[in-house]
Symmetry: C2
Subunit: 376 residues, 2 copies
């Protein structure tokens, strides 16, 4: 028997109805990580609490100064830039809420077998870098440009295809200003941590994480639509394996709440005591600004309007919201939902697709309110 790449990967599959998380999903869950939900309290997510999803290995880059970014393809003046060269361009800092396209996947039935996120694959950071449009201007894009392809240094195999991680944006998006795409070299004022793309990554405000190519090495302008694995096979919204599917692009609206009270270690059930309780959380949308957050203490049967803090000029960052709930002894399910200026909101029943992408099913937080005099 031969030993070939196409034997290495198992086909994509859905879990059986009662199938627990498998060893493969667990291996992804232990190396990638979500935002512990209590960290929704921070405007800017502290390093190490921001979600991380890496397809292959985190490249080992002991010396940033030797890194080179090329800008080529359909351009008049191909560029070769070091991180120091990039710092000579005008710098822009943008606060961006980044969410994994697979967030919510593990709540689906049937569950697509992949990185098993519940609701926590999110984080917000101040990203500093050069607007991509300035680099493309410097290189001089030729007429006829269709896509801009971004190549990272992370290398692996997926469904039998050996690849460097690659994604593309349409030329209009790559050179646009709403959002303004960045080639970022700093996160929260410090050099990028290795797991966030050190030394360079793309930041595409409002888009799911798969577009923000990390460990960025090449920017290539093409005159045809990019059809690489991560563009045309992965990250498509499909109902059936044979569908061409719609591409996954911008982030759909979502609200999350900071679980109140304190947790049981194992079940993560929240414990509170009777009386009024402040609730708070964050809400975001990459489609249009969030205009409304509602909270429910009865699993979505009735809703109460939350108070949404001003956006403070950060169009691409989550917004803080607060509300109050009067807890009474018994079991409750708290939930919240965001609505954006386009009228998009979050479903109470799962919006299923085979890849488990762009799932914004509402968060459900089970809370146990103790009796007035309960001390365990």
């Amino acid at each position: 028997m031969g030993h070939r790449l196409d034997d290495v990967s198992a086909p994509a599959r859905l879990a059986a109805p009662d199938e627990g998380i498998g060893r493969d999903e667990l291996a992804l869950a232990t190396r990638n990580h979500g935002l512990p939900l209590e960290a929704l309290r921070y405007d800017i997510t502290p390093p190490g609490l921001h979600y991380v999803l890496t397809h292959y290995d985190i490249p080992y880059v002991p010396d940033d100064t030797e890194w080179q970014l090329t800008v080529g393809g359909l351009v008049r003046r191909p560029l070769r830039l070091t991180p120091a060269d990039l710092r000579a361009f005008p710098r822009v800092t943008t606060r961006v809420t980044l969410e994994c396209a697979g967030n919510g996947r593990a709540l689906l039935t049937p569950r697509p077998v992949s990185q098993p996120w519940l609701v926590e694959a999110v984080g917000t950071a101040d990203w500093t870098g050069v607007p991509l449009r300035l680099l493309l201007e410097e290189a001089g894009v030729e007429p006829g440009a269709v896509d801009v392809v971004f190549t990272g240094a992370d290398h692996g195999v997926e469904r039998g295809v050996e690849q460097d991680y690659q994604r593309a944006l349409p030329i209009g998006t790559a050179t646009g200003t709403e959002p303004e795409v960045l080639v970022a070299y700093a996160m929260n004022g410090a050099p990028l941590p290795p797991q966030h793309g050190r030394p360079l990554r793309l930041v595409v405000p409002g888009w799911y994480g798969m577009a923000h190519v990390k460990w960025l090495r090449e920017v290539t302008v093409t005159d045809t639509a990019f059809e690489g694995f991560q563009q045309s096979v992965a990250y498509r919204l499909r109902q059936h394996p044979g569908d061409a599917g719609e591409p996954v692009t911008r982030i759909v609206p979502r609200a999350l709440l900071v679980p109140p009270g304190f947790p049981d270690f194992m079940s993560r059930t929240r414990v509170v005591r009777p009386g009024p309780l402040p609730l708070e959380g964050r809400a975001w949308s990459g489609r249009a600004p969030v205009t409304r957050v509602e909270v429910s203490a009865d699993a979505g049967r009735t809703w109460q309007e939350a108070e949404l803090e001003p956006a403070a000029g950060h169009r691409w960052a989550w917004r803080h919201w607060r509300s109050t709930w009067t807890a009474t002894p018994g079991e409750h399910t708290l939930t919240a939902r965001a609505t954006d200026a386009d009228g998009h909101t979050q479903p109470l029943a799962q919006p299923w697709n085979r890849g488990g992408f762009a799932v914004n099913l509402v968060q459900r937080v089970p809370v146990r309110c103790l009796d007035e005099d309960a001390h365990g």
Copy 2:
């Protein structure tokens, strides 16, 4: 029906033989995280790649300057110290490899249901702080001291017991110099990140993570042995539920290797091409210095001695090792094992206990070596 604390927690249990990882275990795996194994390349683990395990919520501490650490109990001069006060004491920096006591748990059959680590719950940092013995000297420990109890600010419920996280050390260990216990305020030269105990944590070199109490608020000297939940119920090595069990203390030897080649996204199987391949990794023991690392490419049937780098004075940190392997087309299982100066080594068959603690079963890395001419 009443709503009491003892209804909140489910009893400890073992998974059924074919039971996949449950929603409760997954909720822990998505918020806590391990070291991505390629990060074993770094002497000091970059922030955000070091493993994290939090029992309850990460406390929210917006202003460090208001934090107070008390030193009390059986002492002549109780102390109340701010982080700034601690910086006035002599400072010590110690490089420490920290491992979770539950590392390896999810590899056990039957699997204890808890945080489901495979092998990655480890990391190495330079911790800076005040030797605990200097604080206890300043407070003046009275005769008859037995234990020193450490209380963190993280609050939750576990098996029906509401608690702040608390652990104790015997007075001799707390005031000893081998290892020297620290009250740390910096990690790798920066203030502690929230998830690592900001603003103060205990560091007990050589001991499993449960001893390194984070968000440290109280140090209390007692004249009786501490019998709190995390000391006498959790973190015991038991074969049967009714056993008193031995306490979990120091880290048993372990070697891990950086998985060679590149991964398949989903299975994490490693792919290499035929020929000589450098192998490298780390090895550590909290019992006695590591003196030997061996590598096997046939799942432990035959072993080859690895080259162990000098310890460079960091007694409590992992040591780097390297070896070479000549890959031939086919499927292989790489493994490594560490032996320490006391002759302790790693088992090839699981050392089972009900809590899944101190499990140093060898790592097994499946590798697929392609045919010479295979290109997928």
